[in-house]
Symmetry: C2
Subunit: 103 residues, 2 copies
DNA sequence: ATCGTACTACGAAGATCATCGAACTTCGAT
DNA sequence: ATCGAAGTTCGATGATCTTCGTAGTACGAT
């Protein structure tokens, strides 16, 4: 089984604007919440979303390129995880603030 | 001198999506940072921004309607303040996370 | 080698958004 | 009562974004 990480920004390349813009979209926020409940990561397809597969891929790419999540391949599947540590270092409290919000 | 508050959402009407969407725009983020440095509030016109007055008004409206800031009139001027307490209660850490970010 | 699965890339369509100028309102000062 | 300053609203324009279907890639299993 092959294992490869997808390109993503280094910690010091992450910009607040991009992160906030990435998080400020309902579908993407849903993805983040799903990821927060699964520290070991989730395959994209396993997240229940009201959009097609291609739209889902689009959102995951935006989140990854913003530096919010990390993705690596495992066979044909792509496992995503929240970049908790990086985000907590850059913007302490931001993630918790969002996740503790009333849904 | 007349003093009147402009309409804004109650604390329990504030939605995370709207807040994040409001914050995820460079000009608006700039406004937030200016407001964070002025606890007593700022008049819109005093904030240095790379946009015209009407665009500025547009952004301030979005921030107010999202529940991020409060605005009241003071004569012909409009003073805005961050809704720190409400935001901290709803999303503890979010604001600090954003404000401590490297610019 | 072929097939199915998981996912991505591309191009198009429609929606939403930022931006502006012009016209208008409101208030304080002359 | 008139003027100027501060700020808003409106309508238009161009940019950006979400969404989708289709076509394609990569991989594991048969």
């Amino acid at each position: 089984m092959t294992r490869k990480a997808l390109p993503q920004p280094e910690r010091d390349e992450i910009r607040v604007e991009s992160v906030l813009q990435a998080l400020g979209e309902p579908v993407r926020l849903q993805i983040i919440r799903a990821l927060a409940d699964a520290p070991e990561g989730i395959a994209c397809g396993e997240i229940e979303l009201p959009v097609t597969a291609s739209t889902r891929a689009h959102h995951l790419r935006i989140l990854r390129e913003a530096g919010v999540l990390s993705t690596h391949t495992e066979g044909t599947r792509r496992i995503s995880t929240l970049r908790r540590e990086d985000l907590e270092t850059l913007y302490p409290g931001l993630l918790t603030g969002i996740l503790t919000a009333p849904r």
